[in-house]
Homo-oligomer: 182 residues x 2
Amino acid sequence: MRLLAISGSLRAGSYNTALARAAVDLAPEGVDVEVFDGLGNLPLFDADLEGDAHEAVQHLRDEIGAADAVLFVTPEYNGSIPGVLKNAVDWASRPRDDAPLRGKTVAVAGASTGQYGAMWAQQDLRRVLGVAGARVVCPDLPVARAQAVCDPSGAPSPLVCERLRTHLAELVREAAPIPVAA
Amino acid sequence: MRLLAISGSLRAGSYNTALARAAVDLAPEGVDVEVFDGLGNLPLFDADLEGDAHEAVQHLRDEIGAADAVLFVTPEYNGSIPGVLKNAVDWASRPRDDAPLRGKTVAVAGASTGQYGAMWAQQDLRRVLGVAGARVVCPDLPVARAQAVCDPSGAPSPLVCERLRTHLAELVREAAPIPVAA
């Protein structure tokens, strides 16, 4: 099984990107996790160009298309999803009839330095992903006071790692094909 | 008085951009309306670069800073604000202590081809602008079934123009300095 982790922050020291990276080692055995690297290369969404194969857009669409499930890890900017991440969702939701997000099993997580752990951003993102046609599973995973629960390199604490491990296991369980009865 | 109109769509034939342009002729007498042209030139927001004076970011900040009020005209993508427009708000909300949106009087409007007139996008945008520190005034202005109430060039119908005229008058009234008692 293949899982794609997308961080909504371009900041080099981002706690959210650190969470996405931590997923590589915390996913269930046999699950290959790839951290998407390329959100910052996307052009701004323009509906006139949605059919054009801009290289960075095609890369995003291919990676989502090839994944069995996607974990979106979002910071919160101005009480909602960063424009950077919403822009990626807008591209991945088109063209409508052949969008890589359509029917895709997805979950959200998010970290902030405040006491709510990007909770508003995660709620907005769930709704947006659902409107885009994705199958949104798992509860939110809010990581609050990120600066206190991550070490100076950004690596999450053992407790956060355990919460992320459980989150990933549930996402993978949801994305697994339903076994055919014998 | 100076009013800035910002359309959240980069599409050439955008109904929202047409609404923003219509504001030029529909604003109260003596109000100078400028339609912001440059959302598509903004880089994707990166908190590591928020203090850097990227030319397009500085242009956005200067234009908002120089305006007495701002009208945001938003399409709705995946049930919310386009990433393109949220990205602009993210830039204009930083640096926190000197952000051009802080205390700025703003209103929203929006058009869609569906029957709700970008209502969800407008609600999310109001909330986001408020969190960014703006003073959000006026009710929403939802323009539904835009393809039916605009002519082929995108120009809004007389009825939509009247609604926009009233909206602009209220925004201008809200942005006017409170007269000092004699």
